[in-house]
């Protein structure tokens, strides 16, 4: 019996009946049927201050800088210094997959920040306090040292094109340095991270299971054919390597933040995820094709000069997969409407459909888009 023809059989629900059923991937969304969300541990800023006080930390909490998946980030002061306070607990999930992220993300982040405190290659905020009992950490506010996050610059159409070499170098050095780390327990695993990032691709290509399983094996460095002692060593992966979590100063110094969702697997995804975010920003008009076409090759050259890629074609597939994942704005600001989502989807699918093997060819396709 032949395989199901996805082109003939719509497999997806639609937001608008006017759309081409076969070209629209419904983003994963939560349902809220009778679900009893747990009471928040922290009721207010003042309450958080009180809880920190009980842990012997005198912190004045200021404005919220927004929440990520399971945490809330505030600006504040401690010992008259500007600090960032990050409290981790479940919030109402944007998607149910986010409920896979548990409060252990706090412990993961603390462990990584401690490891990076004396790093000579990777700059990360100093850990100033760890209120482990209430899953709250206090770190230095890098903004006080002139850092700003690249995503904000992008949204202001001020993408720092000149930072390509510095970023490629910094990310590769970070990758190399973390390879010396012994594997420790993280909150998430590569397999679950892959499930989250690949779901849109799986739904878009229901019949291409071979690719799905091959990419999952590459992503998690899992080879079912090999015995455990023959399998490749799993490497540290900073899962949130997006422009939102890369800070830069005016003179091009870089710092990385947000390590709670890290896991052990294929490090190539760190570079792929960053490039995917740049391409999404390009397709929605915040970065010019010219700038991104200059930036990415320079960044790539710097990266591979320090940390050669194992398989560039896999990186290209990760990029397309991540673009499909972000096409509907999950964890991404700047997508204004469904037409833009469809354009991102179409580009990502064209990369997968035409089996593009190199980043250079991918950028050529972008120029032709």
């Amino acid at each position: 019996m032949g395989k199901r023809d996805a082109k003939k059989e719509p497999i997806i629900n639609l937001v608008s009946s006017s759309m081409n059923k076969n070209d629209y991937i419904l983003p994963v969304s939560a349902t809220f049927r009778d679900i009893q969300y747990p009471e928040p541990i922290v009721k207010s800023n003042k309450h958080l201050e009180e809880l920190l006080k009980e842990q012997s930390y005198s912190v004045s909490i200021g404005n919220s800088l927004g929440g990520h998946t399971t945490n809330t980030v505030f600006e504040g002061t401690m010992d008259k210094k500007a600090v960032i306070v990050k409290h981790t607990e479940h919030s109402i999930p944007q998607t149910p997959i986010e409920y896979m992220i548990m409060s252990d993300a706090h412990d993961t982040e603390v462990k990584i920040l401690k490891k990076l405190q004396n790093s000579e290659t990777a700059r990360a905020p100093k850990l100033l306090a760890n209120a482990q009992k209430i899953k709250t950490l206090v770190i230095e506010d890098l903004r006080a040292s002139g850092f700003q996050d690249i995503s904000k610059l992008i949204l202001k159409k001020k993408f720092p094109v000149d930072s390509a070499e510095q970023f490629g170098t910094a990310l590769a050095q970070f990758a190399v340095e973390t390879r010396t780390w012994e594997e420790f327990k993280t909150n998430e695993s590569a397999v679950l991270a892959f499930y989250e990032h690949s779901l849109e691709m799986l739904i878009a290509y229901p019949n291409e299971i071979e690719r799905y399983k091959r990419l999952e094996a590459a992503f998690s460095l899992k080879d079912e054919e090999l015995a455990e002692d023959e399998a490749p060593k799993r490497l540290f992966v900073w899962a949130e390597s997006s422009p939102e979590n890369v800070l830069i100063t005016k003179d091009g110094k870089l710092a990385f933040i947000d390590f709670g969702r890290s896991y052990w697997g294929d490090q190539q995804f760190m570079l792929a995820s960053f490039i995917a975010h740049l391409l999404v920003n390009t397709l929605v008009g915040f970065i010019s094709v010219k700038d991104v076409s200059t930036y990415i090759p320079t960044c790539l050259k710097a990266y591979v000069g320090i940390s050669p890629l194992d398989d560039e074609s896999v990186v290209v597939e990760y990029i397309a997969m991540e673009m499909l994942h972000r096409a509907h704005g999950k964890g991404f600001q700047g997508i204004k409407n469904t037409a833009q989502s469809l354009e991102i989807e179409a580009f990502a699918r064209s990369i997968l459909d035409s089996k593009v093997k190199t980043i250079k060819k991918l950028l050529t396709s972008l120029g032709e888009n």
Partner: protein
């Protein structure tokens, strides 16, 4: 109307699976009344199809693969009829896509309170398995997505998917019912 809003009666049973009465499905789950149910484990090649379940009861867990109830109107619905409807509704699988008809693997009895809702599962669950020649066309009304995993990946307690399995799937594992 959403499938979950439709009025349906299911079979209230005793612990020997003998039908005692009919009961409205949400009442059964609110009050934790023992009732009859079905789970069908679907394999594609040698992969277990895990449905990331979107449901008022035990939402956001992985089912292996789909679960439903035998509807009770005047008579109890035949297992095979319920399976046929469910495979088509939730996975887009027609019976002709299966290598052979679903095979009965046994029964699990369990009771589990859903920590995230007001509902409790209390079931005598008939377990079947089947193998499909096509990948499922997952219906996003009933699932957030799906994953294909080797059976060892879900029986291994260290596996990230194991901890997120539905309680009845864990019971199926305990009784070693999960095979093609």
């Amino acid at each position: 109307m959403s499938y979950y809003n439709k009025l349906q009666y299911i079979a209230k049973v005793d612990s020997d699976d003998k039908i005692l009465d009919k009961v409205e499905r949400w009442k059964a789950h609110e009050e934790g009344i023992l009732h009859r149910a079905i789970t069908v484990a679907v394999f594609y090649e040698d992969y277990a199809v895990l449905q990331h379940r979107k449901h008022p009861v035990f939402d956001n867990v992985f089912d292996f693969t789909v679960s439903t109830h035998q509807i009770l109107v005047d008579d109890i619905e035949d297992d095979m009829a319920a399976i046929e409807k469910t495979l088509e509704r939730e996975l887009g699988l027609e019976m002709s896509y299966l290598i052979e008809s679903p095979v009965s693997k046994g029964v699990v009895k369990y009771k589990a309170k859903d920590p995230n809702s007001k509902y409790t599962e209390n079931e005598v669950c008939h377990i079947y398995s089947c193998q499909t020649t096509v990948v499922p066309a997952i219906n996003l009304e009933f699932a957030y997505g799906y994953s294909l995993q080797k059976i060892e990946s879900i029986t291994d307690k260290k596996s990230p998917f194991h901890t997120m399995l539905a309680p009845w799937v864990k019971e199926m594992l305990k009784k070693n019912l999960l095979s093609i």
